[in-house]
Symmetry: C2
């Protein structure tokens, strides 16, 4: 494709370097920004520049943050005796959106996955052990994807923390609310029977 302008070509190349965005979409977005009369391109440019230069990672939980310690770790109202271990920020945001959890978090940065070449060294495990050792943590909730790699990671962490007096739990796995049993996969349904829970009349089971 021949571009009539070098500036346009550079913008298209830059936008198309993002995952899932091809050159046709990039051109469409660039032309939209050129035609926009509210300097949308500059507004986005400023936001992205800040994203690259000003954003920090929380020194405790590894969460993306505006400060050295994120708002969750710095909060005085959250339960500091509980840490929910998650793979990434998206999972953390999903849990936050449920408004059912008021403890702290620890982002691992992924799961142990030999097939993708990700070993324990590439995850934030050392800092997790440090936190358990020094911060009086009583419970660790493993909110890790229920996959082979996820299970491996949970097992690895449980071995790593065996010397310490901390309770380790995993989030409940089972059939989804609103889902129909006949469409649940065999593995989930089988596990949900093995891990059945006593019925409580308040609905929490």
């Amino acid at each position: 494709m021949n571009y009539p302008s070098r500036i346009l070509e550079q913008a298209v190349n830059a936008i198309a370097s993002l995952p899932g965005i091809g050159r046709k979409t990039a051109l469409r977005l660039a032309l939209h920004m050129i035609q926009d009369t509210h300097h949308k391109a500059s507004i986005i440019a400023d936001a992205l520049h800040k994203l690259d230069t000003e954003i920090k990672q929380c020194k405790k939980c590894n969460l993306v943050s505006d400060d050295d310690i994120c708002a969750i770790c710095a909060s005085t109202t959250r339960n500091k005796r509980m840490i929910c271990v998650v793979e990434n920020l998206r999972d953390l945001m999903a849990i936050e959106d449920t408004q059912q959890y008021s403890g702290l978090y620890h982002i691992l940065g992924g799961v142990i996955s030999p097939i993708n070449g990700i070993g324990p060294d590439q995850l934030y495990l050392e800092s997790l052990v440090e936190r358990v050792k020094n911060e009086g943590v009583e419970e660790l909730i493993m909110a890790i994807s229920p996959t082979i790699d996820g299970e491996t990671t949970i097992f690895y962490i449980s071995r790593l923390l065996a010397p310490y007096d901390v309770k380790i739990s995993t989030i409940a796995r089972g059939v989804s609310f609103g889902g129909e049993l006949e469409y649940a996969d065999e593995f989930t349904l089988g596990r949900s029977i093995l891990s059945r829970t006593p019925y409580h009349q308040n609905g929490l089971n």
Copy 2:
């Protein structure tokens, strides 16, 4: 959705202001840029900033350009007696990519479309008339979409240019190369019979 960082939230909002990009995609792109170790966010930011501040519009043909006069209008090798009238830059680039045309262009910026509130005043028609009047143009090729609005626009331009000695042609409409007749729509097929062309052995017909 609660964002753990104001900078991240601003970036997501800015990216999601683009057409066809929702907040989930914007978050995915922003996190990709945060994790990128080659300062992709700043590279894109610089390209977008230039797009907003440095890009110009060719004073003759309205094409996006790095200079006041675009490379096509400024070229000494192109046929300046022919102007191909197109709706927008994407159509121009599609024609350029065919490498079958060596004349100049004129971008209208759209077509007359009463239903969308676009009248002749919003298109670059005056400057087209000026060019026909002053630049010794011999032929105007209408490369406008064969829709009702497109046909209206061609008709309007032909009336506007009636006083001047300029040949007006439209790009050939008919069945696509490689297409099968049974799948062509009735209107196209009907028109292609009415506008049949004499057969030439060199294949150009």
